[in-house]
């Protein structure tokens, strides 16, 4: 347990070395929120406005999830750099078990995502309204599941791909696929409607329905806006996503990294 705490400390220390860059990113996320709120709200069709009340209320949980995604994914970038510069040899030589090492890095990635996301979540609460203590606990739990799952995806890719360029490309693909096929920017019902009309390919609709980003954003909306309604499927999907990628990353980190 001590070893895991030390690893989390190591990753947090490195995370905060980029504090000005992080501050810039948070400002950008908040600026996105403001721009969307002012501009998009005026551009939406009455049909959509009826669905989501106001775009700023709808988009604020989405921005929170986007921020969480970006910051939790950062751990992979660092691990990929460590592998390329062979700093992972040092990590593998420490008096720490491989499992502790993998869990420590995953946990750190997840917690860093949570920390980065906190000002965005607070802004969301200020804009949309505050949840009850129980709802807050569920929201935080869901966000943590999402953060560790994303850290898992990122670590699994980081140790499987040696080239930094390929890592960045993979990250870009995942970003766009998960952001595009999600309910971050537009309601899931709209995507499903586009699917029924044959405008959006069905696999993209299915991905949007199962997408952990959709589930997390919708869970926050469910508690704060009452729409879409809260379902246990949201939690179940997040648990499955987190379990799959935490498991994959753990195995990848324990097995693949030793061959590098």
């Amino acid at each position: 347990m001590k070893a895991i705490i030390h690893l989390v400390e190591y990753d947090f220390r490195n995370f905060f070395r980029y504090k000005w860059w992080l501050a810039g990113l948070i400002s950008m996320n908040l600026a996105d929120l403001l721009i969307m709120a002012v501009v998009y709200n005026q551009m939406l069709s009455p049909e959509i406005t009826e669905l989501i009340r106001s775009y700023i209320s709808f988009f604020a949980p989405g921005v929170t999830v986007v921020g969480l995604f970006a910051s939790a994914f950062m751990i992979g970038r660092e691990i990929n750099m460590e592998v390329r510069r062979q700093i992972h040899h040092y990590m593998l030589s420490l008096p720490i078990t491989r499992l502790e090492l993998a869990v420590g890095r995953l946990l750190a990635g997840g917690l860093r995502g949570m920390m980065y996301m906190t000002p965005l979540l607070l802004t969301t609460f200020i804009i949309v309204g505050f949840p009850t203590p129980l709802q807050l606990l569920i929201i935080l739990g869901a966000l943590f599941l999402l953060a560790t799952g994303i850290a898992g995806v990122s670590i699994a890719i980081a140790v499987s791909i040696s080239s930094f360029e390929k890592f960045i490309t993979a990250r870009g693909l995942i970003y766009y696929l998960l952001f595009f096929c999600s309910s971050i920017f537009y309601p899931l019902t709209l995507i499903q409607k586009l699917g029924q009309e044959g405008i959006m390919p069905q696999p993209f609709v299915t991905l949007a329905e199962l997408n952990p980003l959709s589930n997390c954003a919708n869970l926050i909306r469910a508690f704060l806006l009452g729409n879409p309604p809260f379902t246990l499927d949201m939690i179940r999907n997040l648990i499955v996503f987190s379990a799959v990628f935490v498991g994959t990353a753990t195995v990848a980190y324990m097995k693949i990294i030793q061959r590098k």
Binding site: Y18, Q86, I87, H89, L92, S93, P95
Partner: protein
Amino acid sequence: MPIIHTIGLTKRFEDVVAVDKLNLSIDEGEIFGLLGPNGAGKTTTVLMLSTVIKPTQGTAKVGNHDVRTNPDAVRKLIGICFQEPKLMWVSTPWDVLNWHAKVCGLSTSERKHRVKSMLTEVNMWEHRRKRIHGLSGGMKKRVEVAKILIQRPKIAFIDEPTSQIDVVGKHKIWDMIRELRDDGSTIILATNELYEADVLSNRVGIMHKGRMLVCDTPKKLKDSILGGDIVEVQLEKAADNHVLDELKGLEEVVEIVKIRPDDLRVHLNKVEKVVPKIVNLFLNAKLSISSIRMSEPSLDDVFVHYTGLTIEEAEKKSKTK
């Protein structure tokens, strides 16, 4: 009972055999020099023994724990000073050492004391708050060396500790390595610096192309070169054939090279024993000696003897490959 024992330890990277059936025993408390050019397989051996990478074949016991079946126990005994400093570029020397000491289980007070004293010892105290990416190669190396000196592991793997370090710094680090040994650590010193291996090691193993060619004390390795010792004698007048025959008759003498009639180069073994005999021989023959100079073979000569190449040639060949 050796503290490190390898049996047929082999590592292959696709078609390249980096370490080939290495059999090695290292005793507790010794400084064992793993000597060879870059690409000889020293670092790969260190990485396998420290459980960082897995052997392809064979195995090794480190502190009586098998590196394959019980790597966690092995890692509790070891520490590595890497050839290329493994430091997170955004960290500072203080943070690197403090965190390393923490992970290695040092108490808070011990940690602070050791980190401060070691940063001072390696002349990095003033630079302790600078980012790693802003440090010179030598400074990074000193931080890397400080890690293992703070940790004081039971078994220390030190890979080229003085590369990029100035002469004064080298001597300081050598003293620190000796102190580490005196405090009870067993040290495996991987190096391509022959002099470093010679002055520090109790025993030296010469590696070339992934194989261990020979392993013994530096003295025995040097003595193993037949006629490796040289005595150069300058006489006041030429030595006649009778004296030269008598000189040849000494059992330690291997060859006599006449540079000039009054200038002889004698290739022999055990120079320290035979020099008095040579001096007596010339004095009895009423030949005055103007000067006499003795030289022992170095580990360079030992390396050439066993590989047919100088260490520089071996490095060039390995780079060409």
